[in-house]
């Protein structure tokens, strides 16, 4: 390992820019002649639009244009799409309701887009929007996940009777039911996986621009995958063909999934820019972010686990209703199906699994992938059931898990996935030691002496990252392939530009990707730059989500670097007058084996471009290679998190006293960045468990539409973490890496709730376990204690 190569905790290149205010985000981009957009949003969760009168608004100062759904329809702008087809049990395709960028005839959630006002300034646009008169016919709303499919519930889309998007299932029902019929013990749970608001630090923004000389469009946008945005806006929404459409995602301040999707606002900005022949800019305020960013989670689930007499799991049975909101967002349909049910085997040998998932429409913001996307929901269910099963059968929760661990790899689960590698017991052993599990009894007694309740909770999670191979996801309904691209451009003086289809919005690719190249080519880290987020520079790419940039994006770079090395070896052969086969490449130097004849990499680069030492007809001049990498399997990060909490029964306040995380991410590129990802993921997972919950009232108003009511985790809510890693290299990619971006958010919620239920002595607590909820639960605990005495 070199000081700055793979495996080194190199400080992040991009941080100086970010922490000194030099980042260049979409809202920092201002184009000459730019106008501003303000979206008039529906104040009603469900209503017909009988009439929109914007005559007075159009006369307000500075107004350039006002557009409504009629204008979108007249221009034949396509609706927003959902790019993953799910089929119901009966073989019928999912019921995708039309999703126009500006509402046509009906609004379906508070925040839905009714009209856009374009004016010289944002203030003028907003002012004018207040003068638009909309005649709404208010309809009853449906917001409750469990209630949406009820007969007689308000219908969100005519195309979807009973608000049902699909009734999907996976697994062998007959074998699973049979295993339950002969089970010695069945553990059961009913749970709600609470709806979350992503809350990236940077709100969404877009600047659309039209160049009438080239009849081309440019869109600057807060995207995790600008190429996919261009593909959708071009091929499906039909704004312009791809070769005349440039999408740029500059610095992006966090996404957590919410910036994967193609939204109405960027569609309208770029469409309107051509209409008004001026650049059109929009930046969400925080309230708009709460109302209109795709939310996460929102499941209602019943789960059961069957055990035999020896305490081995024989089967799992799951029934989930997933709320997808008012419209199908870009990848929403795959989240509660393939990203969820495929993970139900957890780290355990479960011979039979059967899961049914009903997806429903409601009059709420669309729900789509959010950090972990389906896998946190699976992990929460599996790990809650494991904890309950251990408690009900009187087994130690750690040892009950160990007894059911998968120990031989590869392992074919009954839900499609084949785990390629892992060592679950190693993570458990390490975590038990770090958590000082042996002395938990003493710590519980010490808390009890203070009138407090202490508990410990386990979470042995597994996730599937990389999200590929393309043919495999295609067979499951994906509309795209999930490979990644890379181009390595070596300049004549030996510096390197890496063009990648991955996109960094906090992950630190400028650092980690440069580490890979620096180590491989033996050139200084500073001599490598990373180019991403611009469809005019990077030809095509699939972007960053699902912890895929390391496992997939870097693998593409490795493949391109292989080609660079092969070509450079030929050039070096000519320079050194030796056969390429007789040349070895090490530490940035090409050497004729067994001699001291050598040439360094920058010199080879120069020779490749001046092409004096070889015949340019036999060997092409230049040193530039590209590659597409399509993985052979998903990757399977896994680990054990242990949370220890103390509850004050007098107030319901839960304090996290100790957190142990031992993760197996395979090989690590930059351990410091990995640890940062773990920290952030745990914070978000703790947020889901204790603090965060999007609440709609029965009228469909978002009660938690600001930070006054929606509690984000803060530094003083969190402990210092004890973080460890184990390492079983991933066999499915050349670097042996698995991905770490979502692990904490997947692992944390069950660890917290298992700790809390251990402290409380009963299972009656839901997420978010707010002080109010915990106080009520603790009263039950105290009553149980009194009854026992």
């Amino acid at each position: 390992m070199s000081a700055q190569g793979v495996g080194a905790s190199v400080l992040r290149k991009e941080d100086f820019r970010f922490v000194t205010g030099r980042g260049r985000y979409t809202d920092d981009i201002n184009r000459p002649g730019q106008a501003h957009a303000f979206f008039l949003r529906s104040p009603h969760a469900h209503a017909t639009i009988n009439r929109i009168d914007h005559a007075a608004a159009s006369k307000m100062p500075g107004v350039v244009a006002i557009f409504t759904g009629d204008d979108i329809a007249a221009d034949k702008v396509g609706g927003l799409i959902c790019g993953w087809m799910i089929h119901s049990k009966d073989g019928s395709p999912m019921k995708a309701g039309a999703h126009p960028a500006l509402a046509q005839g009906k609004v379906r959630y508070v925040g839905d887009h009714v009209a856009v006002v374009i004016a010289d300034t944002y203030a003028q646009a907003r002012e004018a929007a207040e003068k638009i008169v909309v005649d709404y016919g208010v309809l009853p709303a449906v917001t409750d996940t469990a209630d949406a499919a009820r007969t007689g519930a308000p219908q969100v889309h005519d195309i979807a009777p009973n608000n049902t998007v699909y009734n999907w299932h996976i697994g062998d029902k007959g074998a699973t039911d049979a295993a339950f019929a002969s089970a010695r013990h069945v553990a059961k749970i009913d749970l709600v996986n609470n709806r979350l608001v992503p809350n990236a630090m940077e709100p969404r923004a877009a600047v659309g621009e039209y160049d009438d000389a080239s009849d081309g469009l440019v869109l600057y946008t807060t995207s995790q995958n600008p190429h996919v945005a261009r593909l959708v806006l071009s091929a499906f929404i039909g704004l312009a063909p791809e070769h005349r459409f440039r999408v740029i995602a500059p610095d992006v301040g966090g996404g957590f999934g919410s910036k994967i999707f193609i939204y109405a606002e960027e569609t309208v900005c770029v469409w309107a820019a051509r209409k008004v022949r001026r650049p059109v800019k929009w930046t969400a305020d925080r309230t708009e972010a709460f109302l209109s960013d795709a939310h996460g989670r929102d499941h209602v689930t019943h789960g059961e686990l069957a055990l035999d007499a020896a305490g081995k799991i024989t089967a799992m049975r799951v029934r989930t209703t997933a709320n997808l909101g008012a419209y199908l967002s870009t990848f929403s349909s795959c989240v509660p199906t393939y990203l969820y049910a495929l993970l139900l085997s957890g780290q355990y040998n479960i011979p039979n699994i059967y899961a049914e998932v009903d997806a429903v429409y409601t009059n709420t913001a669309p729900v789509d992938a959010y950090r972990g996307a389906g896998r946190p929901e699976a992990s929460f269910l599996v790990e809650r059931l494991m904890e309950i099963a251990a408690r009900e059968t009187g087994k130690d929760p750690a040892e009950f898990r160990r007894a059911n661990f998968i120990t031989a790899f590869p392992h074919q689960t009954p839900v499609i996935l084949a785990y390629d590698a892992g060592n679950f017991a190693a993570s458990l052993d390490s975590a038990l030691k770090l958590a000082d599990y042996a002395n938990i009894g003493k710590r519980k007694a010490a808390s009890a002496a203070q009138g407090k309740l202490r508990g410990i909770g386990f979470s042995a999670y597994i996730e599937a990252c990389g999200i590929a191979p393309s043919a495999a996801v295609g067979s499951l309904g994906a509309g795209v392939g999930l490979w990644e691209s890379a181009e390595v451009r070596v300049n004549p003086i030996g510096t390197v530009e890496i063009l990648t289809g991955s996109h960094s919005h906090g992950q630190g690719h400028e650092t980690t990707f440069a580490q890979l190249v620096s180590g491989r080519l033996g050139i200084p880290f500073e001599n490598v730059s990373i180019v991403h987020g611009d469809t005019d520079k990077v030809q095509m790419g699939m972007g960053t989500y699902g912890s895929r940039s390391g496992a997939v994006g870097m693998s593409a770079i490795v493949k391109a670097l292989d080609k660079i090395e092969a070509k450079a070896r030929k050039v070096a052969g000519h320079c050194l007058e030796a056969s390429p086969d007789d040349i070895e490449f090490r530490d940035g130097k090409f050497t004729v084996k067994g001699t001291d004849k050598s040439i360094d990499f920058p010199s080879v680069a120069l020779q490749a471009y001046i092409a004096h030492k070889f015949n340019g007809q036999d060997l092409e001049p230049g040193l530039k290679e590209s590659a597409f990498w399509d993985p052979t399997n998903f990757t399977f990060p896994a680990g054990v998190h242990i949370c220890e909490v103390e509850v004050d029964p007098a107030t319901g306040v839960t304090t996290i006293e100790k957190w142990t995380a031992v993760d197996d991410f395979g090989n690590l590129v930059n351990p410091m960045i990995v640890e940062g990802q773990v920290h952030g993921g745990i914070a978000q997972g703790v947020g889901q468990a204790l603090f965060e919950g999007a609440v709609y009232n029965t009228d469909g108003q978002l009660v938690t539409a600001s930070f006054m009511d929606y509690q984000m985790p803060r530094a003083d809510n969190l402990p210092f973490y004890d973080v460890g890693t184990t390492n079983t290299p991933c066999p499915s990619n050349p670097l042996g890496i698995k991905g770490c971006g979502e692990a904490g958010a997947i692992a944390a919620p069950p660890a917290v709730i298992n700790a809390l239920t251990d402290a409380l002595g009963h299972e009656d607590i839901a997420m978010p376990a707010s002080p109010l909820a915990v106080w009520r639960a603790a009263r039950k605990t105290m009553a149980m204690k009194t009854a026992a005495e």
Partner: protein, 265 residues
């Protein structure tokens, strides 16, 4: 934000005159409530009368056992004042626990008291310490000042100039924060002075800050945590929201009152 006329008077008299002239105008002190409200277009004052130049409304004086804090004094100044810390440590601690550092560096005691937000901290201190609110027109006892949600005894053109707090023998303020906003869900200020004990509750009442006279009577008889055993705050008249229902608030009032008694100094 909607457009408004801006004034920055140099004297309290000028500020009062402007406030009287513009019925839909607003006095701007620290702006910690007014400005966010305006930014969200929830308030549309015709005129803003900025009190930032009224330098004679800044400062703290302790004399004859009375702490007098002028209206435009920032929370951070109260929190870090050695004199306040010595005379009424509970008051300095309360000021140091308002909002966050940014709020404490802008927000003022006069603004907080005049606004009478039902979740604000200072009103509890005013009631429990038996403060007097001085205006450009008169002196008002705290007991007569807070008249309802965001309502006070202040008349048109009346501006708070200072607030004086008689130092108690012992006092303490305990706040249970809303986990999201971190405003008080329940804040209880307990103060003992001679034979008198006052218990003021903020954050919980549907008419704003109030005195818990049942607790006061018990503590007058015996200023000890045990005196509150078996004393319950009724739920009636308490707020309910997604973070705390009335039952929880009532319970927390008892818990916070006991903790305040235990910590009083």
């Amino acid at each position: 934000m909607y457009a408004f006329n801006y004034h920055k008077p140099a004297t309290v008299a000028d500020a009062a005159a402007l406030a009287s002239q513009h019925a839909d105008g607003k006095l701007l002190a620290g702006g910690m409530t007014l400005l966010p409200t305006m930014k969200q277009r929830l308030a549309q004052p015709s005129d803003i009368i900025d009190m930032g130049k009224l330098n004679d409304l800044k400062g703290i004086e302790v004399k004859d056992g009375v702490v007098t804090i002028k209206a435009m004094t920032r929370h951070v100044t109260v929190a870090t004042s050695a004199e306040v810390r010595k005379a009424i440590p509970a008051l300095a601690e309360l000021a140091g626990g308002i909002g966050d550092p940014a709020v404490r560096n802008r927000g003022t005691i006069g603004g907080s008291v005049a606004n009478n937000d039902p979740a604000a901290d200072y009103p509890a201190a005013c009631l429990a310490l038996g403060a007097t609110i001085h205006t450009n027109k008169r002196a008002i006892a705290a007991d007569d000042f807070f008249t309802g949600l965001f309502e006070t005894a202040l008349g048109e053109g009346e501006i708070i100039t200072s607030i004086s707090f008689p130092a108690p023998d012992k006092a303490n303020y305990q706040k249970f924060r809303n986990p999201a906003s971190r405003y008080a869900i329940v804040g209880v200020f307990v103060a003992k002075k001679g034979g008198d004990v006052r218990v003021a509750v903020t954050g919980a009442g549907d008419s704003g800050v109030f005195r818990q006279k049942d607790f006061e009577a018990a503590l007058k008889a015996n200023f000890a945590v045990a005196a509150l055993d078996g004393k319950h705050q009724p739920e009636k008249g308490l707020n309910s929201d997604i973070h705390a229902d009335a039952e929880y608030r009532a319970h927390l009032i008892g818990v916070m009152a006991k903790r305040a008694v235990a910590a009083a100094k």
